[in-house]
């Protein structure tokens, strides 16, 4: 059997190879691919941390001669390998997410929009593909903790400040409308950054104490508290997203989760089974109800109810639901009415925290009201709505912002796609492929308008 020193040398060499293979991917990425600056920051960090890790293990076992010292080194190697196994999960998906395989203009627009919140004026988001169906935000505190612990051990760089990671389903990488869900993930970043979990937790604990007294076991109390804080986080992220981008978030939510199946043939909400139960997450219909609340608060609602579309019909139906319409499941013998009551006490707090973190963020409603019809008219005629003629006979144009563009375009897709198809020879409004093809075009034109707008606004001219 090799000596302990030889074993340590072997293990260090193995780790060295593993880290090299990861950093090599970042170093020798496809030269034809382009990346968002945030992704480049992420790759640069991985390379630097990798270099520091390799430098740290390069001389193992160094001057150490005693078996306990060798065993300490082995622990270090195991710790580093565990950390790099975690970091490894994100490198390839981030490399796959070059600007060709992302809705790049939308992401740039959303990041700019996010930065309108004063506290986040310099925050960046690196986007990576995930094979999961759901969009997801990397728990940055977990990522940062692991990266920073690794950095501390190997004397490497700390994870960049103000950089967050968001995963989008690879299948949605070219869809504009579905990616209106990204602001929800940005909400998770805010939730973690502002420590809202820690703010909500004592409120939940207090409510549970008042409602249950000493009847809950410590284990149950802890589990329910964690669950309610998680529900609060999801709700916060929903209402944050609506505040950030308007009703297009709710439309994307309905579309992704197929929530409109809750409507019957008369447009009434009678097929909602499975969408009213609080479980791991709050139920879809409850989440939509809270989105309606924020749409009303932000004055979108009165405008939205004028829209003749089944998504709006669904939102109106959801708005009529009562607390009693929502249930809790999988709670065993615990009184679920009390759990629900405790959670409902937290909901107002979610809204007040939203107001606090998004103070200074203009909704975009007024601009939307002034340009929506015009954007729809451009789309109806197959034209990219990046430069809207302000007045007939005058060479003055308006460059619409992200929020009016997204909401007008999504509304057009849901409500008025037939108008576009009616202009196209051989287009059949009842043909699913035809509708899908032209819906894709509407998204392409909108993405192009966002891209043009990003450039036009930078230049300050139209």
């Amino acid at each position: 059997m090799p000596t302990l020193e030889e074993q340590v040398r072997h293990d260090a060499s193995s780790l060295y190879q593993f880290v090299s293979s990861i950093t090599q991917h970042c170093d020798s990425k496809n030269p034809a691919a382009a990346y968002l600056s945030s992704s480049e920051r992420f790759f640069k960090y991985i390379i630097e941390l990798g270099q520091a890790t390799k430098a740290y293990v390069k001389d193992f076992p160094g001057g150490r001669t005693q078996p306990p010292q060798f065993l300490d080194l082995r622990d270090d190697i195991a710790t580093l390998r565990g950390s790099w196994q975690f970091l490894h999960l994100f490198v390839k998906p981030a490399l796959d997410s070059d600007t060709l395989h992302l809705p790049t203009s939308l992401i740039q627009g959303l990041i700019e929009r996010f930065r309108e919140i004063p506290d986040y004026a310099d925050t960046d988001f690196a986007i990576y593909h995930t094979d999961l169906f759901n969009y997801l935000n990397v728990q940055l505190n977990v990522f940062k903790t692991i990266a920073d612990e690794t950095a501390a051990l190997v004397k490497g760089p700390k994870f960049p400040e103000k950089l967050a990671l968001i995963g989008i389903p690879y299948s949605q990488s070219s869809s504009l409308f579905m990616n209106c869900l990204i602001p929800h993930e940005m909400g998770h970043h805010v939730f973690g950054d502002k420590g809202l979990g820690a703010k909500f937790r004592p409120v939940v604990e207090k409510e549970l104490q008042q409602l249950f007294g000493a009847t809950l076991t410590t284990l149950d109390r802890s589990a329910i508290t964690n669950l309610l804080v998680r529900w609060a986080e999801e709700l916060f992220c929903d209402v944050f997203a609506v505040r950030m981008v308007g009703f297009c978030y709710s439309f994307a939510f309905i579309e992704l989760f197929d929530v409109s199946k809750a409507l019957d043939e008369t447009g009434k909400l009678t097929r909602s089974a499975g969408m009213t139960d609080f479980d791991e997450y709050p139920p879809h219909l409850f989440r939509l109800q809270q989105q309606v609340a924020i749409l009303r608060k932000d004055k979108w609602w009165d405008e939205l109810t004028k829209v003749d579309a089944h998504y709006v019909n669904l939102l109106e139906e959801v708005d009529l639901m009562k607390e009693a319409d929502f249930n809790l499941s999988n709670f065993g013998s615990i009184e679920t009415t009390k759990v629900k009551a405790a959670f409902l006490k937290v909901v107002p707090l979610i809204f007040s925290e939203l107001d606090a973190v998004s103070a200074g963020l203009e909704s975009g409603l007024e601009e939307w009201k002034s340009v929506c019809e015009k954007i729809e008219s451009y789309l109806e005629h197959g034209i990219v709505p990046s430069n809207l003629l302000e007045k007939r006979g005058e060479l003055k144009f308006h460059v619409p912002s992200l929020v009016p563009l997204l909401n007008s375009s999504y509304k057009f897709y849901v409500q008025l796609l037939d108008r576009l198809l009616n202009h196209i020879d051989h287009a059949d409004v009842s043909d699913i492929k035809c509708r899908s093809d032209w819906a894709t075009k509407v998204q392409m034109w909108t993405a192009k308008a966002i891209e043009d707008g990003n450039v036009l606004r930078t230049k300050g001219t139209s």
């Binding site: 197959g382 003629l389 043009d452």
Partner: protein, 258 residues
Amino acid sequence: MAVLSKHDINERRKLPVTEPQSLVITPILDENVFDEDSLDLRLGTYFLLPQIPPQPFVDPTSPGTSSQSYLRLHTPLGAYFVLPAHQTVLGATLEYIKLPFDISGQILTKSSVARMFMVIETAPWIHPLYRGCLTLEIANVSNTAIVLYPGMTIGQLVLFNTSVAEEPAKLSGTYVGPVYPEAPMLRQPGEVLYGIGLEKYRHPLYGWINEKNMARQVNAEMAKLGDAEKSNVKAVIRILQENGALPADNPASRLFSK
């Protein structure tokens, strides 16, 4: 057929898109792109790079050729794209254009670009009512590689009045509303050649083909068979297809897939 002046172009740009005479060119990043009788167009950010095909030739009418023959690339504004000597690439204009029903257009290589021995367009005519970013067939005919920056002015758009009297009821055309360069979408030779009265055509791999005659005869023979026999024939065809003896682009394969 008169060339539109800068004034004429701008008068058209002042019309709402709902009016059939309206002209849209977006984005106009710099008013200096206008000349008295033309305006400069910029290079867009997406490219289709021709790839070496698996066969010794490219048959543009073969199904799937478009997607297999090009590598799609994105070069954001600020980055560059290198076009090697004697190489070609499909690009697109940064500007999205909507022509009125009574205006045609032509895109020309900008003289400064042409003097670098680069050609940007070999199908320069733009029909009335066209809308989309213009696909550019960019060829570097020089002996050195050339660096291309998306956003650089690369072509000139010249617009002409035509005598078309009224707007057609609907938009038509193979390429409507593209914002990326588009690969060719040619019709099958059978569709085109039968239309001008030819009975058969010669395929580069399969020789002389008469699809109509083949379909007629096969259908007649199949009609004589019972369900079980038809099922056996289909099974044989499936075996041939799955084992590469009857490729998807073979006209017989198309016949049986129907």
